[in-house]
């Protein structure tokens, strides 16, 4: 089973960012908040996997998600502090958090191979949608060069995560 809840939230990010809709693009403070929230969600999902899964490959993947996403978020915090920008909560961040809460509740009810499969499938779809949002909405809208650069490095990293999750998902099939 694949939970596609984050896709709706990411679609909301696109709406915020999409000039085609006649809506203002997100500002840097909102982008920083969205990116940080998206990273925190994946760390929380990985910690849930580390608490529940006994599959060595799944645990290794989850450890990588914790390590990499925490590193990006720490860098993001340093950057907003240096830029004197206060990350600004926004409907996209709220939708992401709400969707992630629902996904975690559903995953909490699963165990063993069923949990592993659902977690990894969700990681595939989550990274796919976050990457699409980064590429088409968040990176083009970022004004500060350092923020843009951090998001670009993040996108390269998250594409690696997506590939890793896809390989893992095919192994679990």
């Amino acid at each position: 089973m694949i939970y596609k809840l984050p896709a709706a939230a990411i679609a909301a990010a696109m709406v915020i960012a999409g000039p085609a809709y006649g809506v203002d693009a997100p500002n840097d403070a909102q982008i920083a908040h969205i990116a940080y929230t998206a990273g925190s969600i994946d760390v929380a999902a990985a910690k849930q996997a580390l608490a529940k899964s006994h599959n060595a490959a799944v645990r290794e993947f989850a450890s990588e998600m914790v390590r990499d996403h925490e590193a990006v978020n720490m860098k993001a915090l340093e950057l907003v502090k240096a830029l004197k920008v206060t990350p600004q909560d926004n409907p996209t961040s709220q939708a992401l958090s709400e969707a992630a809460g629902e996904t975690m509740s559903k995953l909490a009810a699963l165990d063993g191979a069923a949990f592993d499969k659902a977690y990894v499938d969700n990681e595939v779809s989550y990274h796919k949608t976050v990457n699409a949002a980064l590429q088409s909405a968040l990176i083009p809208s970022a004004h500060n060069a350092q923020l843009k650069s951090l998001l670009e490095t993040g996108l390269t990293l998250f594409r690696e995560h997506q590939m890793h999750a896809e390989h893992l998902a095919s192994d679990l099939d």
Binding site: R67, A71, L157, M163
Partner: protein, 107 residues
């Protein structure tokens, strides 16, 4: 054995030094790892040279050539690796396999 006069001996030594680059002291090369990429790799590597993998990224990486070398690169750290074999060594970061390169080592 006939002894060479000093100026001739010096000239012969200079010629030998030029003709035998393998006898030169090992070189140390710095490879910067940043923004999910391995930087420029040295083109003229020889056995005995040293590579300093300088991980300036915020992530843990590795330089891994399966069965040949596996160097852990903690975030923000530089790690030395002496080259002990001759050949062509494709390597990746084992955590992010899209990061890759090839070390070409001659004797």
């Amino acid at each position: 054995m006939r002894r060479l006069c000093p100026p001739f001996a010096a000239a012969a030594w200079a010629l030998l030094s030029i003709a035998c680059p393998a006898a030169a002291a090992p070189h140390e090369y710095r490879v910067v790892v940043d923004k999910m990429k391995f930087g420029a790799l040295p083109a003229d590597l020889h056995k005995g040279d040293v590579i300093v993998w300088d991980n300036r990224d915020m992530f843990r990486h590795s330089a891994t050539a399966k069965g040949k070398f596996d160097v852990d690169l903690p975030a923000g750290k530089a790690v030395r690796m002496r080259i002990t074999s001759i050949g062509s060594f494709p390597f990746v970061c084992k955590y992010h396999p899209g990061m890759k390169g090839v070390l070409k080592v001659s004797k």
